[in-house]
Amino acid sequence: MDSAVLIHRLHFAFTVTYHYLFPLLTMGLAPLVVALETMGLWKHDERYNYAARFWAKIFGISFVFGVVTGIPMEFQFGTNWSHFSRFAGGVIGQTLAMEGSFAFFLESAFLGLFLFGEKRLSKIGHWWTGVAVFLGSWLSGYCIVATDAWMQHPVAYRSTADGSVTLSSFWGLLLNPWAIWQYAHNMAGAAVTGAFVMTAVGAYYLLSEKHPEQGKIFIRVGVVSGILFSLLVIGPTGDGQGRNLANYQPAALAAMEAHFDTKAADLVILGQPNVEGKTIDNPLVVPKGLSFLISRNWNSKVRGLSSFPETEWPTNISLLYYAYHIMVGLGTIFMGVMLLSGIQLWRKKLYETKWLLWILMLSFPLPFIANTAGWITAEIGRQPYLVYGLMRTVDGFSKSVSAANAWFTLLGFMGMYTLLSILFIFLVQRELAHGPEYGESVVPAPVKGGKTTIAGRN
């Protein structure tokens, strides 16, 4: 554990994994908040506006946490990955700066309007600020995905005399073919997260017999969008991302599936990769499934890992394999749970199907795990490169920052993020207990302290 590059990698991995939990939620909730606002406008139903306000508050909390944990990400490009920054800053600085100054200002500007300006804006005006928050957060996401996509599949650059790279085409960078699929796949994954979280809170309210009317709205909107996005995650976006890999990072794809020999490839459902024996232990496979997915031909050959020199192999094949399979497995489960809930909803039985409500309530952490696993797949798959084919990870970290100093700050971040987690849970729990401020209840319960009635609000 004395290798500086390993600590710097852990440092970034830890902070970025933690950070992304928050934007994942905000990007996932943004379209749903707009959907709720739209329903309120369309149906002239005040209940949807209460729901929208409630989720806007959760969105706002998550947004602040995204900002607070996002600043260290930007810093770390310079602090921990200075050689990479010096090499690639001329290209990816563009998208990162756009995120920092453009999308970010847009988002915080309109979030301020959306949260504080309801009384000053017309209903349509307020709706538009909601749409702008949604677009701003998704634009932010695009800038970041385009940055990562350039590291996965570098395009639109030119080498300079001092050995670094500089941008040669702005639109080439933004319209990187890798970025398009990765973004679509990633945003579908975020929307699934938002849908599951909204459904889980709805299920919680129904099961605990609090705010049942609001709970039903959350479940309806959550399940309908959950069905839509859990299908979109798989196809065409997941499929498109898979073919990106087949085209541009065949070694990563082979490692994800632990496919060692070049031949028609099976789709592995379960099993443990045996890297030394170049096989899979305890396999459960769809024969030739991977070949079909890649080329729509069951018998096409897929390049195996053995055909690449070992210096090109991803450095952690087992973790890559598991991360990928966890993502795919959970994605399949999401589709199943949401389709089942959709059927029950259609039959008007979902609100009484307690076992399913329990599943929906307890499922909310799973999309966070699946999205994280997806990002681990992407970033471990990119190894041993930092910029695929151009710069190796061992050449990119800050040589002037010792392993000991990196350990020191990694431990510091762990402590700090523990505090942040407590704060986040406290704030969200407070909103959940407070409820959507909707004074109705099936069983007229005594009004608890702090709960405002409709009349008391405006």
């Binding site: 900002v67 600043i71 920054s85 600085g93 949260l115 941008l167 505090l419 406290f426």
Partner: protein, 348 residues
């Protein structure tokens, strides 16, 4: 193009210092100025809707710096590794203190988070000043354009210097007092009653102290860095800057005496801006001075390709217009004195 981007980054950095400066200063004075729970809540409420927007300027400045001067970003961020990480932690601690304090109305926990918030703000002000002091003093850049500084060594300027030495600590103290004046001026504008009066008196006491400290640090800078006035001698109009620095500081005092609250606040903001302009004027075209001037990072040897700069200018212009519109809007909505009310509104 290089000069233009150099100016853009300087302006963005100044915007950050002036904007986040008053909420840092208000935070540093929080425990001292706010004697009762109500007063402390007023201080928090006066910066509550704006502090995170102010901090976005730091993020935006960092982003633009990264894309315009990748070499500068790489060298300075890795070299200042430890202090920058501590700045990050302090920013977080401060946010934690603020958020919790907003939601916990009473009891010892409110006091605890008041303390966290105030201490975080105070240390940040010192760190920022020390950081600027480091840049002005010069850094041990090697031929590869990299360096690494420990936090402190023997507190002296010399071959084995640390981030903190007598000069950078002095810069930190100047920054702390400067931001306290700025924060006190802001609280004067935003509050009334006893709190307003106390903040006004604080500003009146601290402004002369700041005047002396500014003079001392100016002399110290000339002492450790005899070449610092080179640009001033080539283009003597620059000598107007130190004059403006002291003039704006005196203006703070005079306006505060006459109870011209907004004018005093604006003068304080101008003082900060002129201080930064003065430093930037002295440094240009060097953006990170090395102890050995051969290894200076300059605009020319750190800037990225011209195509990227041209493209960047287009979207940056759009972004800055949106940002300015937003700031005008937010500060208009929240103009005037803060009132405490227990409403269950949207942004509570």
């Amino acid at each position: 193009m290089g000069l233009l981007w150099f100016a853009i980054i300087s302006v963005m950095l100044t915007a950050y210092v002036v904007l986040d400066g008053f909420d840092l200063g208000a935070g540093a004075l929080h425990l001292f100025l706010g004697r009762t729970d109500d007063e402390r809540r007023k201080i928090i409420k006066s910066i509550g809707p704006v502090w995170d927007g102010n901090e976005v300027w730091l993020l935006a400045t960092g982003g633009v710096l990264y894309f315009v001067f990748p070499q500068l970003y790489a060298s300075s961020f890795s070299g200042f590794y430890l202090p920058l990480m501590m700045v990050l932690w302090l920013l977080m601690l401060r946010a934690i203190g603020l958020e919790f304090r907003t939601h916990i109305k009473d009891g010892i926990w409110a006091s605890f988070f008041d303390g966290i918030f105030s201490l975080g703000s105070l240390l940040l002000a010192v760190f920022y000043g020390a950081a600027l002091g480091n840049v002005v003093r010069g850094l041990p850049l090697g031929p590869d354009h990299y360096f690494f500084l420990p936090l402190w060594t023997n507190w002296n300027i010399g071959p084995h210097q640390g981030v903190l030495d007598w000069y950078t600590v002095l810069s930190g103290v100047v920054a702390l007092v400067a931001l306290c004046v700025h924060g006190a001026n802001y609280i004067v504008v935003k509050t009334d009653g006893e709190l307003n009066e106390r903040a006004r008196k604080t500003s009146l006491v601290l402004t002369p102290v700041l005047l002396v400290l500014t003079l001392v640090s100016l002399l110290a800078t000339i002492a450790i860095h005899p070449n610092i006035s080179a640009n001033y001698n080539t283009l003597p109009i620059g000598y107007a800057i130190p004059v403006l620095v002291f003039a704006s500081l005196i203006a703070v005092f005079v306006f505060q005496k006459r109870r011209k609250e907004v004018a005093a606040f604006v003068s304080g903001a101008l003082y900060l801006a002129f201080m930064l302009v003065g430093a930037v004027y002295a440094l240009y075209p060097v953006i990170l001075p090395a102890v050995d001037p051969r290894y200076n990072l300059t605009v020319e040897n750190s800037i990225t390709g011209s195509y990227a700069l041209q493209v960047g200018l287009r979207w940056w212009t759009v972004a800055i217009v949106i940002a300015l519109g937003y700031f005008v809007f937010v500060y208009r909505i929240f103009r005037g004195k803060v009132e405490l009310e227990d409403h269950g509104g949207y942004g509570d």
